[in-house]
C-alpha cells in the first residue's frame, strides 16, 4: 500500500494555473496571427514591388514626357499659368520617378519556406513584446521582434535562430517570483495579448482594403482568366508614352521652326 501526501493547490495557485493555460492558448493564437499579418504585409510589398517595376516606372516616364510638354508650352506662352502648370508637372514627374525607384520597388515576391514560417511562429510565441513582464523586458522584446520581422521579410532563417538564442539566454526569459506576482504578471500579459490580437485584426482589415490589395486581387482574378493584368497596364501606359513623346517632338520641331 502506498500512501502519499498530495498537496492541494491554494485558490491563488489554481487561478494562476488556469490563467497560464489561457495565456498559453492565446500565445499560440497570437503567433499564428502575427505570422498571418507578416505574410500579408510581405506579400503585398512584394506585389507592390512588381507593380512598380513593371508599371510604376512607365508612369514615371509618362510623367516625364508630360512635364517636358508642359515646359515647352510654358516656354512658348510665357504666362504665369503655364509656368505654374509646368512646375507642377515637373514635381509630379520627380515624385513618380522617386516612387517607382523607391525601396519598395526592390521588393521581390515573397515565398517563405515552411521552416522560416515555423521559426517566425516560435519567435512570436516566445519573444512577443506583449508578453513582457516589465518595461525593460518590453524594450528588449520590441527590439528583437523588429529584428525578427525584418529577418522574416528577408527570408533570413539564421537571423531568426540567433534572435531565439539571444532571448533564451537573457535573464528576462527566466520566470517565477511568487504566486501573487506571477498572477499579476500573467493577467497583465493576457490583457496585452488580447489588445494586440485586436490590433492585428484591424491591421489585416486595413491592409485588405488598401489600393495595392485591391489591385492584387484584380490581378489574381485576371490571372485566373488567363490574362496578365500588369502586362496589360504596362502596354497601355507604354502606348500613352509613345503618344506623349510624339506630341513633344512635333511641338519641339514646330517651336524650333518659329524661333
Amino acid at each position: 500500500v502506498t500512501t502519499g501526501i498530495v498537496r492541494r493547490l491554494s485558490p491563488e495557485e489554481e487561478e494562476l494555473a488556469k490563467k497560464r493555460d489561457e495565456l498559453a492558448l492565446l500565445q499560440v493564437q497570437l503567433a499564428e496571427r502575427e505570422l498571418y499579418v507578416a505574410n500579408l504585409r510581405a506579400e503585398l510589398t512584394g506585389f507592390e514591388g512588381r507593380y512598380l517595376r513593371q508599371v510604376g516606372v512607365l508612369y514615371a516616364e509618362l510623367d516625364d514626357w508630360s512635364a517636358k510638354i508642359a515646359e515647352l508650352v510654358a516656354e512658348e506662352s510665357g504666362t504665369d499659368e503655364a509656368r505654374s502648370a509646368a512646375t507642377q508637372a515637373r514635381a509630379q514627374a520627380a515624385e513618380s520617378r522617386s516612387a517607382s525607384h523607391s525601396e519598395v520597388a526592390e521588393s521581390k515576391q515573397f515565398a517563405p519556406s515552411p521552416e522560416l514560417k515555423s521559426l517566425y511562429r516560435e519567435v512570436a510565441k516566445r519573444v512577443h513584446p506583449d508578453l513582457a513582464s516589465d518595461d525593460t523586458d518590453r524594450t528588449q522584446r520590441e527590439r528583437l521582434m523588429a529584428q525578427a520581422n525584418r529577418a522574416y521579410e528577408n527570408g533570413d532563417a539564421e537571423a531568426l535562430r540567433r534572435i531565439l538564442q539571444e532571448y533564451e539566454g537573457s535573464p528576462d526569459s527566466v520566470r517565477g517570483t511568487g504566486v501573487a506576482a506571477d498572477l499579476v504578471r500573467i493577467l497583465r500579459q493576457l490583457k496585452q495579448v488580447r489588445n494586440r490580437l485586436a490590433q492585428i485584426e484591424e491591421e489585416i482589415a486595413s491592409l485588405g482594403k488598401s489600393d495595392i490589395a485591391i489591385l492584387q486581387a484584380k490581378a489574381e482574378d485576371a490571372g485566373k482568366k488567363g490574362r496578365d493584368l500588369l502586362a496589360e497596364m504596362a502596354a497601355n501606359v507604354q502606348g500613352r508614352i509613345n503618344v506623349a513623346r510624339h506630341n513633344y517632338e512635333s511641338e519641339a520641331r514646330r517651336l524650333r521652326t518659329i524661333l
Binding site: 510623367d63 482589415a205 485588405g208
Partner: protein
C-alpha cells in the same frame, strides 16, 4: 498653346492630382483599371435604340442587383391593380457590415441570396435598390399570408451558405443571413413599423421615402 498640346497634356497626366509617393502610383493604376472596367461594362450594355419595346420595359421595371421587379414596378402594379390590402417592407440585417468585412462582391451575392429566398417563399417581392437602406417591398392579401411567407423566406436565407473572402483574402463560409420585416396597411405604415423594429428612429437617414415625412 495649340489644342493638340493641351490635349496631350491632359492625356499625359490623367491623374496628376494623385501625388502620394508609391501609394499614389498604386492608386493611379487602380483608378485607371476601374475606369477601364466601367467602360467595358457600359460597352456590353445594349443601346436603347437596339432594344425592343419589351426589353426597354423590362429594364425599366427590374432591379439590376437582384433581378426582382423594382420600385417602379411596385408603383405600376398598385396603379394598375389597385392598392394591395396589406404590404410589407423588409431590410437585410448588417448588410453594410457584411460589405465592409467581405467586400462588395459578397454583398451582391447576399442580395441575390435574399432575392432567391423571397422567390422560393412565393412572395410577390419588389426590390427598391435606389434607397439608402436597400428595401424589399411586398404586396399581400392578408397580414397572415405575408407573415407566413416572410418567415419561410427568413428560414431559407438563414440556411444559405455564402463563400466569401475576408479582408485578408482568406476564404470563408458565411452561414446565412437574416432580415427584419414589418407589415402595414400601406408603405408608410409598414416603414414606420420597420423603423421601430430596427431602432432607426424617426427622421433618420432614408426615412420617410414611402409616405410620412419627419417633422
Amino acid at each position: 498653346v495649340t489644342d493638340d498640346v493641351k490635349k496631350a497634356l491632359v492625356r499625359g497626366s490623367p491623374t496628376a492630382l494623385v501625388r502620394t509617393g508609391s501609394k499614389g502610383l498604386t492608386t493611379r493604376g487602380l483608378l485607371e483599371i476601374e475606369s477601364a472596367e466601367r467602360a467595358e461594362t457600359s460597352r456590353q450594355w445594349k443601346l436603347i435604340s437596339e432594344m425592343s419595346p419589351e426589353e426597354v420595359r423590362k429594364s425599366l421595371l427590374t432591379s439590376n442587383a437582384t433581378g426582382l421587379p423594382n420600385l417602379r414596378a411596385f408603383a405600376e402594379t398598385e396603379r394598375n391593380s389597385g392598392p394591395a390590402p396589406v404590404v410589407a417592407i423588409s431590410n437585410l440585417d448588417g448588410l453594410e457590415a457584411f460589405r465592409d468585412t467581405f467586400g462588395p462582391t459578397a454583398r451582391n451575392a447576399l442580395q441575390r441570396g435574399k432575392a432567391d429566398a423571397l422567390r422560393k417563399a412565393g412572395l410577390d417581392a419588389y426590390h427598391d435598390e435606389d434607397h439608402l437602406r436597400d428595401m424589399y417591398l411586398f404586396r399581400g392579401e392578408s397580414p397572415e399570408e405575408l407573415r407566413t411567407k416572410l418567415e419561410k423566406a427568413r428560414t431559407i436565407l438563414r440556411g444559405i451558405q455564402f463563400e466569401v473572402a475576408d479582408s485578408g483574402g482568406a476564404k470563408r463560409t458565411a452561414q446565412g443571413a437574416d432580415f427584419q420585416y414589418a407589415i402595414g396597411r400601406d408603405l408608410a405604415e409598414a416603414e414606420e413599423n420597420l423603423a421601430l423594429k430596427k431602432g432607426w428612429g424617426w427622421g433618420g437617414p432614408g426615412w420617410g421615402k414611402y409616405g410620412r415625412e419627419a417633422d
